[in-house]
Symmetry: C2
Amino acid sequence: MKDLAKKFGHNLRGTRRDKGISQDKLALLADIDRSYVGRIERGEVNITLEKAYQLAEVLECDVRELLP
Amino acid sequence: MKDLAKKFGHNLRGTRRDKGISQDKLALLADIDRSYVGRIERGEVNITLEKAYQLAEVLECDVRELLP
């Protein structure tokens, strides 16, 4: 699980930065706690499919781009 | 969420049947409860990324094939 979560978090951070969006803004737009965005990006949590889609929607990318 | 979970469940059931694998066998190989496989296929649960990968691995398919 660790590896999957870490890779997803890495992809999320990369995509977020590419789009010039801060963790605060992503958290606000995705309606999740900012500290949770940090935990997701560090691969510390095993998020749900729904949350992955929610984040992809905010980042205006296909969820597949965030998947390892 | 409903729609996402339903579509994932529909894709899971289709792929499982295409491969001639029963719910019991999928549950056994994915190390999850059989009734949970049924709930996933009916779109009643919001599964985690890890569980989606686990199911894809058992069905020997790319997790992206199961995604809506």
